[in-house]
Symmetry: C2
């Protein structure tokens, strides 16, 4: 980029909002350190008009732009290339909550609002914004939309896609699309918001959204159950769903090794159950109504005990105890980092195949790398398992991670047998774009390319994310 | 079309599946008689491969194709042009339910399966497929997907879009896209199924879908309440939602005139309440659990009585009585036909503006056509009102209907003030394509055209539906 052009970009925002050098550095490496980028300039605009001006200037000068939210993404979708030719556009300072309408059950939030702030603003209005992720303190609504974020509340409330009524987005040529609809039903042509949701910043930059709010829970009941097998976990899910119906708002699978890691590396955690069990389910029931969830939870566990599905269980006696159970679950990603290298798989399979998948993928890994340690956990009611594999104790981390692709092939082969997804909730980004050719038909890849060309004909927005071709 | 080309099309299906003349006639006029088409040939293929072959041949020879499901659509989206140059492709004989997986909570149904058959197949497996419409006996899953159908269960379960896990579609050039995913989470790139859902057959022909199933209700409680105003109706909705939470599965607004029409024209209907009331709400609570819905309903009505929101109410004492309440609601569309011409508006506004919209639009119509009779009813919890206007008693039907566009302008002006939609659940088709230029920004129309060009570059699929340009 010429100094003249750089100066023109800088002039589009306040001085403090054009970063380079050390100020830009934290935005150029993603959380796992798998991708390190370099940017000609990192811009943090504060208005949609500034975003528009930046993209228009980039379009006129064929400059590629990589959008970024809270920089918590796990697939490198937010990291510019290492050649320093791209502009990093952070939406972090588009951080106003424009409106909370409790009666209308909606909120209008800008892209840079953190998920936690959105949750808190809803709670202050006596409402619930249900999306919940480990990174909610720093991930942003814009990033949640760009990646169609999932998390622990999908079972009852759906993915981010299901929580968005409308979006405002800036197109690659700088035009602003105001799609901030507040409607529950609108069939006036193609539903364009669904194109932007989950497109990882490759079709446009989402700058604001209308989000659905739900009644706040007034009653919650939480339990941790120890089980012998993934089959038992699926059976417990089935029993819980049958008795709790839509009040079953959490059903998270955890393996014993995950709890061992937690107790070893997270201060203040302890085992809620007396002895160890191969598997655990964290069950949460919640409801905006008052009405006997504690009894329902007891019924569920009683039936599960009687059927031999559950070995032991603890019901949280207080909100603090429930939070302690959840701290174990939310800490699972982090504690793996203390046990050396971890090769990740964010996969999903149909609900009826979850137990078989976990069993068979574990066996396949045991064949492939006998001393590697499978840490399989996640959202069993969504069929979404984080099938991570930690290095053998004492192994060399770099050498182990060099086997990333080979391990992926072993696990993804089992995913494929069950018609599953190799990118269930984290997205494709740069990390998994090479996998798409293996799991998508030519027809589907052609359709995706056609959509990309139609919306971003110059291929300037987040080039290399999702689709391998840098320019279409 | 040359006789040779016609013969080639005929040869792609069995003899009995290529219709013309009287056999094709019922498929060439839509239910309100607003559009009458003519087709070179009406084909009713039985397999996705036949659909593929038809579209490939059409593509190679630049023949336009109009897809059709159950021919129940209300906006002319399923009717070919009057010039006889197009092929009508009915998916009605793609009518296999390929699979019902109760444990996996899904069903794979072909496009021509009627909604009622899908509901029944789910019920036989102890599950619920929740979509419910007046035309469910004849509308099809393919049409429901093409139009993103709504209906009376959207409040609790969402639109058709929310009930589809995956689709199989044939592209305009004949290629088959197998997107029959069975996953609750899948972020492997652009979510293409959302492009086809609601695209009214202009981007591809959906031939099958994976549908979500829900636990079957085990308990239902139903009431009909008489109220003084739309404001009271909204307040009753608020009270019901607060007490019933997700068990509130129906909340339908009806006006007194609608009940008058019903008792006059539908045999076997009678007023469940003693005196007349200006407005009515049909409330339905249902749950897959057993647990006191009757008490909840009494609590709701008790609080509403105390607050002066409800004037009178009847709780259904049996399933038959509940059905009788629903028969009134489901008959509302039909009975208007017996009262002369009716000018229709299928609109939605944000939840917080429903009462104001009904009041103001009614006043605007009274100004515009003092003796016309407003019949406003629908899904108050979705903000979706069928704001229909029947002709004055004794007026000339044709003369009244000649004022369709002028009446539309009056009502849609109020919709626009509230940021509403002029096509909430019935779609755009040919009837409303002219309205889009008034309610969509240029940016949005450009995006829609870009999508159309990307997927249907020759403009051969359902030309003239949604977008006015016959060829892009």
């Amino acid at each position: 980029m010429t100094p003249e052009l750089e100066a023109r970009f800088r002039a589009l925002v306040a001085d403090r909002d054009a970063l380079d050098g050390d100020a830009a550095a934290p935005k150029l490496v993603e959380p796992r350190g798998l991708y390190r980028g370099k940017a000609a300039l990192a811009l943090t605009p504060r208005t949609v008009e500034q975003v528009s001006a930046i993209l228009a200037l980039a379009y006129d000068n064929d400059v590629a732009v990589v959008p970024q939210g809270g920089n918590t993404g796990l697939v490198g979708g937010q990291t510019p290339s290492p050649d320093g030719a791209q502009i990093l556009l952070s939406t972090a300072k588009l951080d106003r909550i424009r409106e909370v309408d409790a009666g209308g059950a909606l909120m209008v939030a800008e892209a840079g609002v953190t998920l936690q702030r959105a949750q808190e603003a809803a709670a202050e209005a006596g409402r619930l914004f249900p999306l919940s992720l480990g990174s909610e303190g720093s991930c942003t609504i814009g990033g949640n939309i760009a990646t169609n974020a999932g998390g622990t509340a999908v079972l009852a409330y759906g993915n981010m896609r299901d929580l968005v009524l409308g979006v405002e987005a800036v197109l690659p040529d700088g035009r602003i699309w105001n799609g901030l609809r507040r409607l529950r039903k609108d069939n006036t042509g193609y539903d364009l918001k669904h194109l932007f949701i989950g497109s990882e910043g490759t079709l446009g930059v989402v700058t604001a959204a209308v989000l659905k709010l739900y009644p706040a829970p007034r009653e919650t009941a939480t339990a941790l159950a120890g089980l012998a097998s993934p089959q038992a976990a699926v059976e417990l899910f089935r029993i819980a769903r049958a008795h709790a119906g839509p009040t079953l708002t959490g059903c998270e699978l955890m393996p014993r090794i995950g709890l061992d890691f937690t107790f070893r590396h997270m201060a203040g955690t302890r085992d809620p159950l007396e002895g160890p069990h191969p598997w655990y389910i964290l069950l949460e029931l919640s409801s905006p109504l008052e009405g006997g969830l504690a009894e329902t939870l007891e019924t569920i566990l009683g039936e599960a005990f009687e059927a031999g599905v559950v070995e032991d269980a603890a019901i949280a006696a207080s909100g603090e105890q429930a939070q302690a159970f959840w701290r174990i679950r939310h800490g699972l990603s982090e504690v793996q980092g203390h046990e050396g290298g971890s090769i990740k798989h964010d996969v999903s399979v149909p609900l009826s195949s979850v137990a078989e998948f976990v069993t068979e993928a574990t066996a396949a890994v045991a064949d492939h790398a006998p001393d590697a340690r499978v840490v399989a956990f996640g959202h069993i009611g969504d069929g979404n398992i984080h099938f991570n594999v930690s290095q053998p104790v004492g192994a060399d981390k770099a050498a182990y991670l060099a086997g990333w692709d080979a391990m992926n092939r072993v696990v993804h082969a089992v995913v494929a047998r069950y018609g599953g997804s190799v990118a269930a909730e984290h997205g494709v980004g740069r990390l998994k774009r090479g996998l798409l050719a293996e799991v998508k038909s030519d027809v589907e890849l052609d359709l995706m390319r056609a959509v990309k060309r139609a919306l971003d004909p110059k291929g300037l927005l987040n080039p290399g994310a999702i689709l391998s071709e840098t320019r279409p």
